[in-house]
Structures are given as C-alpha cells and as structure tokens.
Symmetry: C2
Subunit: 88 residues, 2 copies
C-alpha cells in the first residue's frame, strides 16, 4: 500500500458522514444501502455516492445480493491502515 492508496482512504474518511457510515458498518458488521439511508438525513443518491467512494478507496466492499447490495468494511484494509498509523 503506497502513499497514493493511503491518501485515497484518508480522503474517503475525510467526511463526517462517511466516517459514521464506516463506524456503523463495523458495529453491525454488514448492511445494505437502504438501512444506511434510513439512518442519515441525506437522499438515497447521496448515500449511494458516499458508499461508492468508500468502495473505490478499498476500505469498504459491497456484494450484490439480488436487488440489494451488502456492504461491509474490508478488515484486511482496515488492518493495513491501523498498521500504518501505529508506525507513524
């Protein structure tokens, strides 16, 4: 994981809503877009965009499950971030 990858993840986490989404995903392990939409005061398209960005950064993955998409935090990537920060 080089600096560009790290920056991408930090950038993805550089928004309060996205931090809260990640925290929520970790807390409940996995969930679909709709559940997140219900929690936050933003439109479905906005939440979907945030999830897309998180996914593009690598910190979150999403598996299509019929018409739904099941999102969760990539533990491996999360651990890489932890290792990096710890070593700072």
């Amino acid at each position: 994981m080089d600096t560009a990858d790290l920056a991408k993840i930090f950038k993805a986490l550089g928004h309060p809503t996205r931090i809260k989404i990640v925290e929520h995903l970790i807390r409940i392990n996995t969930c679909v877009c709709g559940e997140i939409v219900n929690i936050f005061p933003y439109s479905q398209s906005t939440i979907s965009q945030h999830l897309k960005l998180l996914k593009a950064s690598g910190i979150v993955c999403g598996d299509v499950e019929g018409p739904k998409t099941r999102f969760c935090v990539d533990k491996h990537v999360l651990n890489q971030i932890k290792d990096y920060i710890d070593r700072l």
Copy 2:
C-alpha cells in the same frame, strides 16, 4: 475529538503530498517551510497552503521563529488519531 474533527484530520491526510509532509515532519522531528519546498516539486505557495491546511486540521503545529516558521507534528493529536483507529 468528535467526528467532525476526525474528518478534518483525515481530509488533511487525504492528499499524497500532505501525507509525505507529515511523514517527513515525524522523521526529522521539526523543520521550516523552505526545507519542505526543496523536497517537493511544488511551488512555495502550494507547500505553504498544504501546511496551512495541515495546521488548520490540528495534526501539525507551526511556531513562528523570526522570519521562518517551524513546523512539527502535534504528538498529542497524533496519539488521539492512533487511539481512534485502534478502537475501530
């Protein structure tokens, strides 16, 4: 440190150059703007802006020392970030 503060710091770290600046500051403990300008292929004004942003986020502090400004990483804030990430 609430979510907004965290997001601000992650956002500040969400750029390769700023990550490298922080890494450099940690490595050599402290340095002035000019030294950083010499390392990176960006103009003085661009580096100064990056430093301003890092400072505004709280992760970096800068003490004016005559005509120079001496920058360093705020260890306390860094530790708060470490704690937060570890607990994720």
